[in-house]
């Protein structure tokens, strides 16, 4: 459950860790777009090399990288087999490299930047939106509530499923309905509690 709340952040002190989160976010986005737009084998391999280099600079443990790549590997092999057969091996290598590059860079970003830092950045980035009526403080509050309620929501789902099991009811709706009803009821109560605390309503 703890990884649920902190994501994949690995504390560290490389310059990648210290880089402003906003910059990292923008750079990663640009990287993603580049992967999609640059359609050639050399570009794909080049981007993969860049991602790998960054992972090394961030001193990410090999285990973390492998675990992240594992999920994608099966797909990648399968896909490249199909493509290699249809469009030649260069296409296949490109797809494989693209997929791996994206995953690796994703790991670099999430392991060098804490969820909180990214959240602060996101909220700060919303400041200009104040003019069109978005209140960054309320946005931050909503984020915090969602993150906070993640484990509780999973627990609620488990408990509701247990209750249906205890009554010997099988149909999924028999626990999905009470589960969702409880999620909504709890949200109403949370809303009332915030309201009562005078939070999020100035």
């Amino acid at each position: 459950m703890s990884s649920l709340l902190v994501g994949g952040y690995l504390a560290g002190d490389t310059w990648l860790h210290r880089l402003p989160p906003g910059l990292k976010l923008l750079a990663s986005a640009a990287f993603g777009v580049a992967v999609v737009l640059l359609r050639s084998m050399t570009a794909g391999l080049g981007l993969l090399a860049l991602a790998l280099a960054l992972a090394v600079v961030a001193r990410l443990p090999v285990g973390v990288l492998l675990r992240a790549a594992r999920g994608i590997l099966l797909l990648a092999v399968l896909l490249s087999a199909i493509q290699g057969w249809l469009d030649g091996w260069q296409k296949a290598v490109e797809t494989l490299a693209d997929l791996l590059a994206l995953v690796l860079l994703g790991v670099v970003l999430t392991s060098t930047t804490s969820v909180n830092a990214l959240l602060d950045t996101l909220v700060a980035a919303m400041r200009p939106l104040r003019r069109v009526g978005v209140d960054p403080e309320r946005v931050a509050l909503t984020f915090a509530m969602a993150i906070q309620s993640l484990p509780a929501t999973v627990a609620l789902a488990v408990e509701t499923r247990d209750a249906a099991r205890a009554r010997g009811i099988r149909h999924p709706r028999a626990y999905l309905t009470p589960f969702v009803v409880r999620v909504v009821a709890r949200a109403h109560e949370t809303g009332a509690a915030l309201h009562a605390r005078g939070i999020g309503e100035d």
Binding site: S2, E159, D162, A164, A166, R167, A185
Partner: protein, 233 residues
């Protein structure tokens, strides 16, 4: 009455923040043969974990739990038909939109005829003082009324054993007496997790749970005394 037996049953969950595993219940052996058994103890001591073991909502990590000839881990569904469970939060158990429909759901297996089923459901509601609310949406009931309804739904199936996890916590004086009387008056075996020590004292036997262990097991009044003393000292 099928005998419930725990044989070195323990519950361990993987640790959350790094660290090792977390023991929710240390290996415990028990034979539950009394008619009415209470489980008392502090918040987070493991009462609910122990209670959930009894009908397979939690399966032991090591050791075994048996109900009569059935192994709880293997024959889960059959065990749950024998051992009913009542949750603290009634919202967890209420499935159907109106009160009477919810009780009817429990009766589905036993009573095939629709009209007869409804009639029986209304009779069950009446026993819990909810007949007037039969067609009311379950969501407009007060907390206490909802708890009564959840109990009605569970007892309607006429199980052999009833495990109730703090069934009276949300109830007022009249209702908690009523539910207390109803539970203690059941012909079925009852395992009652509760913070209401007066109610606990009226059982034949009580277990005191602390930090994942049964630290006292004996006649209910003595157990309550022991527990109160442990809190005050």
């Amino acid at each position: 009455m099928p005998l419930i037996r725990l044989d070195e049953a323990a519950v361990v969950v993987p640790g959350t923040t790094g660290g090792g595993d977390r023991v929710l219940l240390h290996p415990t052996s028990l034979t539950l043969s009394e008619h009415r058994i209470a489980i008392i103890g502090a918040n987070g001591s493991g009462k609910s974990t122990l209670a959930r073991l009894l009908n397979g909502l939690v399966t032991p990590t090591t050791g075994r739990v048996r109900v009569g000839d059935l192994d709880v881990a293997r024959d889960g569904a059959a065990v749950r038909r024998t051992v009913a469970f009542c949750f603290t939060d009634p919202a967890a158990q209420l499935v159907m939109p109106t009160c009477v429909e919810d009780v009817e759901l429990s009766l589905r297996r036993r009573i095939r005829d629709k009209a007869a089923r409804r009639e029986h459901a209304v009779a069950v509601l009446d026993r819990f003082g909810l007949a007037a609310h039969a067609d009311q949406s379950v969501h407009t009931l007060s907390g206490g009324q909802r708890q009564l309804l959840a109990l009605a739904g569970v007892l309607a199936t006429e199980p052999a054993v009833v495990v109730a996890d703090e069934p009276t916590t949300l109830l007022d004086l009249a209702n908690s007496r009523r539910v207390g009387e109803t539970l203690l008056g059941l012909t079925q075996q009852l395992v009652l997790v509760t913070h209401d020590l007066d109610l606990a004292a009226r059982c034949e036997r009580a277990l005191v749970v602390a930090e994942g262990r049964v630290v006292f097991d004996g006649p209910a009044p003595a157990a309550v005394e022991e527990y109160v003393a442990s809190v005050t000292r």
